[in-house]
């Protein structure tokens, strides 16, 4: 089967600085790929290139067999097939929740209002926010806003969803509600590309882990193998940093004999 998404020899520069180096990555339809790596390794940039928010400088990027790196690409079409959710939600602050959700379906896809609205309300109910239908973004918590942002992308009926550190700006107790929504999509068989620092989540949800550093993919592996037996020293180092807190030795208490004597 041909991959749904295929990066080949993909290069991206910011000025003189090369942020993506010769990236090869193929994602099958229905696959959940989690991209891990230290800050600045290019993982977010990779997602943004797939949505046309960043322009690539070389190589090839195909979506469903169609080459995207060329002057003829209609990014408006591509973006309807590739949904993207951002770290800071970016809901449209001057619109109610339902208007946020319907903007794309009505103005871009020119769909019937009652049909699009029925879908939006069903999705809202699914993420437990139907009662916030007419609320404004500023009245919602971060976790609620992020779930709405996910629904906003889903309302376009995309083939792929991109998640760019979507829990990084949230309080810990709100992370769960957002991750549950993403896991639900994974269970349904949606194709997902996820950039995250939630290691336990990555392990639970991924079909495959992609580890990047300094603009290159260093390792691709099944999550269990990646987390138990990383193949590269750099990945091992990276994982050790995350397990550091868990394995932190208890601070030794002051000797007790002073009180005893």
């Amino acid at each position: 089967m041909n991959p749904l998404i295929e990066f080949q020899g993909f290069n991206k520069f910011f000025g003189q600085h090369q942020v993506l180096k010769d990236v090869d990555l193929a994602v099958q339809a229905g696959e959940v790929v989690v991209i891990l790596g230290p800050s600045g390794c290019g993982k977010s940039t990779l997602l943004r290139c797939l949505n046309g928010l960043e322009e690539a400088q070389g190589g090839s990027l195909r979506l469903d067999g169609q080459e995207l790196l060329g002057p003829d690409t209609d990014w408006r079409q591509v973006r309807q097939r590739v949904g993207m959710v951002f770290q800071s939600y970016h809901l449209f602050g001057h619109m109610s929740v339902i208007d946020n959700l319907l903007l794309g379906p009505l103005k871009v896809q020119k769909r019937e209002r009652h049909e699009a609205q029925a879908q939006a309300e069903a999705l809202l109910a699914r993420v437990g926010l139907l009662d916030k239908r007419d609320a404004f973004p500023r009245q919602l918590s971060g976790g609620q806003q992020q779930r709405i942002a996910i629904v906003r992308s889903l309302c376009m009926n995309p083939q792929v969803m991109l998640f760019d550190e979507v829990t990084a700006a949230l309080d810990p107790e709100m992370v769960k509600e957002v991750l549950q929504v993403i896991q639900g999509l994974a269970r349904e068989g949606m194709t997902l590309l996820i950039v995250t620092h939630e290691m336990a989540f990555a392990r639970a949800v991924a079909d495959r882990i992609v580890f990047m550093e300094a603009g290159r993919i260093l390792e691709q592996n099944h999550p269990e193998r990646f987390f138990t037996q990383p193949q590269t020293a750099r990945a091992q180092q990276f994982l050790e940093k995350f397990s550091f807190v868990e394995s932190l030795p208890k601070t030794l208490s002051k000797p007790l004999h002073k009180e005893l004597s």
Partner: protein, 219 residues
């Protein structure tokens, strides 16, 4: 004296009203073109095109560096000489006020658009909005709150500056007042009336601007 003053005002009223009508017409049209042109300028300035930005910068600096009065003379006396184009003085005033106002309003619109978080643009693009849809549905409505108070202040400046049109022969409210003074020598009374006229037109605007600024300070 007091009664004769009021009598004079009453007698002069039709003439003053004609002038006031001209002033208001020039101002309203100038404000209309300044607003339309300013929004266009603001949108063009945030598209990220280098050549466009240089062009807009030149336009802006020309209107910042050269007094409006000089522009009025340039258009009124220059166009017929250099291009054989003769425009009535009323429309010259509208044109210059509109172009000058557009550069001022344009900078306000540009600033308001640029102060929006970059993520708004990206979120709009990511659901497939096209260029003009992005501005019409996402960016301009959110910039509106930030740009309205300073834009209203520019409107009052356009109204006040419209008085320069007298120098290219438009019989607006000040010219009408001067004609009455030439006839009656009642300069204090007439200029007092002019003072009141401009105050009554401009003060509500600047008060509205202040109220909106305070109300939207947290938006």
């Amino acid at each position: 004296m007091a009664s004769s003053g009021i009598e004079l005002l009453l007698v002069s009223l039709p003439q003053l009203a004609m002038g006031a009508g001209q002033t208001l017409a020039i101002s309203a049209l100038g404000i209309l073109f300044a607003t339309l042109g300013g929004v266009l300028y603001g949108v063009l300035a945030t598209l990220g095109s280098r050549w466009l930005n240089i062009l807009l910068q030149v336009y802006l600096e020309l209107f910042r560096a050269i007094p409006v009065l000089v522009w009025l003379y340039l258009v009124f006396f220059g166009l017929p000489i250099f291009f054989g184009l003769s425009i009535p003085s009323f429309w010259c005033a509208v044109l210059v006020l509109g172009l000058w106002g557009a550069s001022e309003v344009g900078e306000v619109v540009r600033g308001a658009l640029q102060s929006l978080p970059r993520g708004q643009r990206e979120a709009g693009l990511s659901i497939g909005l096209g260029g003009w849809q992005l501005y019409a549905y996402v960016l301009l409505p959110q910039a509106l709150k930030r740009m309205t108070p300073p834009t209203i202040n520019i409107y009052t400046r356009i109204i006040k500056t419209s008085s320069l049109a007298v120098l290219i022969g438009v019989v607006e409210v000040i010219k009408a007042g001067q004609q009455i003074i030439e006839r009656t020598y009642e300069s204090v009374l007439i200029y007092g009336a002019l003072f009141l006229f401009f105050f009554l037109v401009c003060y509500p605007l600047s008060a509205a601007s202040r109220v909106l600024e305070r109300r939207w300070a947290h938006a």
